[in-house]
Amino acid sequence: MTSFPRPAEGTWTAHYPDLGTGPVSFEDSISPQFYEREREAIFRKAWLNVGRIDDLPRNGTWFTKDIVAARTSVLVTRDLDGEVRAFHNVCRHRGNKLVWAGTPAQEACGVAREFACKYHGWRYGLDGGCTYVHQADEFFDIEKDELGLAAVHCEVWAGFIFVNLARTPRQALREYLGPMVGALEDYPFDAMTERYSFRAENNSNWKVFIDAFQEYYHVPPLHTHQLGPSFRDPKATFEAAHYQLDGPHRMVSTSGSHKHLFPEEHLYPSEVLLRSGNMGPWDAPAIDRPLAGVNPGQVKRWGIDNFQIFPNLEILIYERNWYLSYRFWPTSHNTHVFEADLWFTPATNARERLAREYAAVTVKEYALQDAGTLDGTQLGLESRAFTSHPLNDQEILVRHFHKSVADWVAADEGLRAEVGR
């Protein structure tokens, strides 16, 4: 019955016995109270990916990232020595939001030597130090050296910029990422610099959309059209080749649809013409370095690695040498902002540009189907018609994610109770 070997226990879920096999509650996705607990325990304590080093291409560049769930905006800079730094995007003087574009609710980016507060003209360097206090003589007992921006812990891993809003993070970033994700550190992300970015505001809890991207059980019923009409089987099933958990992080490898190997009659005419589609451009760029960390399960006919990095980052690495990253930013218990970036090696001619364009078009087409399920799921869950839900072995990552969220919240609340705050 199964196409891929499963662990000795018989199922992936049984291989990780802490998960259990019982039905799962999604109360964590509909409760405003639980969202408040997540904000404190997760979004103010976990390492959060806010961008890539590509967002800071040279010294003096900067960007802001609003993290609504953590009730702050972060200003990320690359200072004149090339060091990446992060600060709360807030003026030391009267607490005005320091940098924004158009309105304070909009994120911004640019190049600067200093940041000036629009309100009273205080200025700060790229290193966060206060460089100018307007009418300094009028103040009482102030030391300019002590009036810098509030620093935020910031570390760069494999070109991904992470921040941590805790006063003292419980783990350094590499320790937090663990060995499974950490193994990707030398993957050639830096060769893939051509980016297509997407953004959506969705009417569901952030975890509901993450759940849609961490199981492929939904693919044959929802994304029927991914295969041409002659190849469709109404009874098609999906089975992933490998699942792996590591701390709060998780991954799945699939054998993918190697469309570049399909007979042409099973493909859409444009796929054949443009040599591209939902697995990316067919003509994979040569990469002269090892693909470090991919395919940890040593799947024979490997197609995609889907790394779910706690809490809200997903990295999808494709066999055709490109990758996708998704980030899910809660804005309330039942809304979130979705960000997607597709990363390719730079196109060298029009044909390659068009193959990338068609891949980017394709991702949006099917992501619209995924996003199309969200408000329906949120409304259904909020009805509380059912308070627990059966999950199958192919949904092991959904099970693990909600358990990880619950464990993380409980652990943080336990620690805070211990130290009396």
Partner: protein, 109 residues
Amino acid sequence: MSASLLPSAFADLEPFASRWCLATEPQRWARRLEAGLDDMQEFYDACFPRAEEAIRYCDGFALHDMPEDAERLLQLLCSFALVSYPVEVWRQALPVDTGSARIDRIREP
């Protein structure tokens, strides 16, 4: 007639140029939503048999240093890629089961 937008070898696609030579995906997406399926089918049918030759024509230039008419031809091909989904896959402007979802492309090369 002097104001042709496309290289002369692609004069047969000229009737589609003013509507489908669009520089960005948000512009192309908006055009896809306002165009009818028949409209897109007509554009698709005209473009498909010329696409390979058009790609070769564009590849005769450096990607970042193309003459304006070749650049517009590439934009037309990008529009072709975008309408191929309504025409080949969905038979409607939006993906089946899009519901209320909306996803905006906010950056591209």
